[in-house]
Amino acid sequence: MNLTVNAGAVVLASEGGAVPVVHPGAADGVFSLLWLVIALPLAGAVVLLLGGAMARGALDRVGHWLGTATVAGSFALSVALFVSLLGRSEEERQVGQHLYTWFQVGGLDVGMDLLYDPLSALFLLLITGVGALIHVYSIAYMEHDPRRRRFFGYLNLFVAAMLVLVLSANYLGLFLGWEGVGLASYLLIGFWQHKHSAAAAAKKAFVINRVGDIGLSLAIALMFATFGTTDFAAISAVSGEAGQGTLNALGLLLLLGACGKSAQVPLQAWLLDAMEGPTPVSALIHAATMVTAGVYLVVRSNFIYELAPAAQTVVVIVATVTLLWGAILGCAKDDIKKALAGSTMSQIGYMMLAAGLGVAGYPFAIFHLLTHGFFKANMFLGAGSVMHGMDDDVDMRHYGGLSKYMPVTFLTFAMGYLAIIGFPGFSGFWSKDKIIETALAENLVVGLCALLGAGITGFYMTRLMLMTFFGEKRWSEGVHPHESPKLMTIPLVVLAALSVLGGVLLLGDFVVDFLAPVTGVAEHHEPPLAPIAITILAVLVVAVGVGAAWYLVGRQAVPREAPQDVSFATRAARADLYGDAINDAVVVRPGLHLVHGLVTFDRVGVDGAVEGGSAAVGGISGVLRRVQNGFVRSYALSLLGGVLLVVLALLAVNLA
């Protein structure tokens, strides 16, 4: 290990860059209120979920406002914290707060400890900011749902858990938040649990996430065995001393966890089903925040990944496969939410790719995570607004020409659209361009895949726009598309503005420099082409995708029923590239066979063997018959006999 002092911060030198050591200072001043960021929405959740017994009527009337207020309060506090952090010098931008000892056994000492640094600061703003907007939107969206109070309770629970995830100073605390958001996701996907499909989707999401949690749990165990702690600060100081095999194992185990939470291949199958949840949930949890937790995990664990090149390579491979996988799914889906979900998977692939590229990529992973949080939340809420006007129909083949009927929804959605395809100047343009550039500098094949993904993004998003807002109206009699109420359109306008302007974060390399105390300073890598050439190339590729969509979808009428005589590729994409079929064939069906086999074995085999065996050995069958005849009714008597026997035997030994 080679400790040097770089720009005032202690850094751990390694190949390809330098990873700073986590060394938080005391939480004084406004930072002493750090815990309150979590406590506010948590208190909201407790009141909304448990308060029903005491004041159901009153809470049903004001509960949604209470839920929104707690998150808005957290947002205000997050802004105050952020401003204070900016006011500090770079090396003092890490603050730790010890709340209490969670559990301590032997050498394992786990604190409820919080860590506030530039990385968590940006997440706090995203979670509480976008979260508050989506709470406002939900007030109107869920207005006619009799269980709206409970919905807001779950949303608050989610926000609190997500804040724990990004504020925790050790991996066990992170795991608490990690599972907390998983629970909230489960509850919200299955919110309309009277639908079988919703209940099944909720279970599927939780179970697949738990497969990922195997990785996270074992990583925690391996960390403790290796470092004797799970604190970020302590591990980051000594990670360089651990063996290469250990570090790569840690990297791969953490990646397994990240794959589950962030729907990366091969644990991607739950995300499209998760669209069973109410649309604000899809926007907040399954687009803007929770599904990006895997990216957070990788970036946060940079002190491991920077020293684990093999694990980093696997991250890049998984991310590249996923970004294409999700994009292909997005091309074939007629369900507007599922098309957007495929897109989310693909965009998280971009973030994960950047995170896998190491120090040069970390800030751009987070930058894209933020801009994606804006434009994807914007488009999901827009999709919700469309559904609101279309009697909850999600099939884009039943839309068409909606731009006239929902002007605000259309215009705001268009901002998100331009942002995600990377239209020059819009937020997504800056963030995706940086990732493609970094990828090309690292590896040509990966870079080209990222470029190809951008083209496909242009295709499927244009297809979605055309089918929804343009062309002939295809809805049936009795549907009256209309613009949504103000409470829904105002968050759309705000998010649209952020989708347009999100790129300002890159002004003067702000986001890169701001994150440097966490992610380190990258060595300069020369890309194979001049950056401006890469940018032009990317725009051209996107233009081809957009053009292709117009050629295939925009020129002709969209049939109301999906055509069945389609190519193999389309069929495969419609079937989620056979993700479910593979899971079914490889895991679910053999698993069920195993379970049923074991149940039979348990009844016939084990029981029979134990009873038969003991009967043969001990002649118990005779006793059994007598007991069943009711002869030895009083077990007390036989116990007495047994005790007498003991005493006699002992006396015999004693006297002998």
Partner: protein, 524 residues
Amino acid sequence: MSDLPVLTILIALPLVGALVTAFLPGATARLVGVGVSGVALVWAVLAALTSYTVDGGMQLTETHTWIEALGVHYALGVDGLGLVMVLLTTLLVPIVLVASWHEADAPGNGGSRAFVAWVLALEAMSLAVFTATDVFLFYVVFEATLIPAYFLIGGFGREGRGGAAVKFLIYQLAGGLVMLASVIGFYVVSADAGRPSFLISDLAALDIDPVTQRWLFLGFFIAFAIKAPLFPVHTWLADTTEHATTGTSVLLVCVLDKIGTFGMLRFCLGLLPDASQWATPAVVVLALISIVYGALVAIGQDDVLRLIGLTSLSHFGFIVLGIFVLNTQGGSGAVLYMVNHGVATAALFLVAGYLVQRRGTASIRAMGGGIEKGAPVLAGIFLISGLAACGLPGLSTFVSEMLVLIAAFQHAWWAGAVAVTAIVLAAIYVLWLYQRTMTGPEQVDVRDLDRREVGTLAPLVLALVLFGFVPMPLLDAINPYVEDTLAEVGVTDEAPTVPAADDTGDHATDEAADGAASSQGGHE
């Protein structure tokens, strides 16, 4: 309080209560039963708060010679292990009595009077088991628990309970007989050493040769493996929980079965340390099989009460695994697991019992779903209890399960890797159960939990959440016991390969520093 025979009074309270209620009319018996068990709970909590210090060692001890020639004593005492088991027992009994309020009087059941009397008798015997510090006394009360248990299974519950009670009894008897051989063996060993004694403190001081240790170990371990239960001697468990009332199941699975793991700690590790180390590989494998096998078989069950019984096979696998990997995280995790499993499984059994009463069947398929909307409290508590069974962070079971996982991984990475699969399997059996029984199109005829029912579940759910976030009060009692026991066994924790400097040390406790220091002797 210190001059009083605190533990004798604690045991005598429910014992006298049992004798009194046996002669009272059912309605009065119920009230008296709840009152007596409530007083026992208060007594136990007061004793824990005022007369117990968490430094370790046996406390509140009482020793009287019982049979001098044989070295048999009436000797009681509690350490961290005994204390938490006493608290768990005294907490669950009044809850079970209130939860079973009308059940025992249902047609075909034995009536409230008998039910209350047997439950109190079982409480008294269980408390005696957890506080006995004489092996002979332990054996007597260990066997004595079978009497009330047998009558509770055979006299109350569903059709087929008679057969289940007999099966239960045969298994337990067989275990008891094997243990008896080892009890006699202890006598022989101590008599050979000079003065016969059954006191645990005397026996621990003996230097028993390794071969004898192994024989003695086998006797105890087989008995405790049947009790706990462990694969492959577990089949009595699901038959019992399927047919008994859920109140009885709570007492059996959450209290009585803990005697198995309690005994492994107290007698196998405590008195036969060399043999315990010798047996570790085999026991670890059995525990791992139980964890995975129990969870898989639970997934395939159609009877909800059978399913819950089998989840306990998986959980007992975790407890045994934690005990036998022989490190502090495993030991403390296992003891904490015993408490948490007791609370979580009690909640799950009780709420499942309320569900079965409402639907008139325990078959998941026959029940159909659609309850969540009409009975949100029932569904909510069912879900929380179920999530506790799968170790969700934020609930107390997570802390103990994670401790055992970490400990198993330290022992051998493959042990951790096998055990960790349970977190997926548990999610499947719990959430699939929830999906099939609670969700789906609404069924209007299900009423939600009433106040009495919520009252029985609320303390359990509260404990799950409270100890999920603040488990240290329990661990403060458990840790010294585990450290003492492992010192007795003669093992130290492995040191981390790349120890991190403790620069966040402002909250490091003295124990942590000690643990780190004492572990320096381990491998590099």
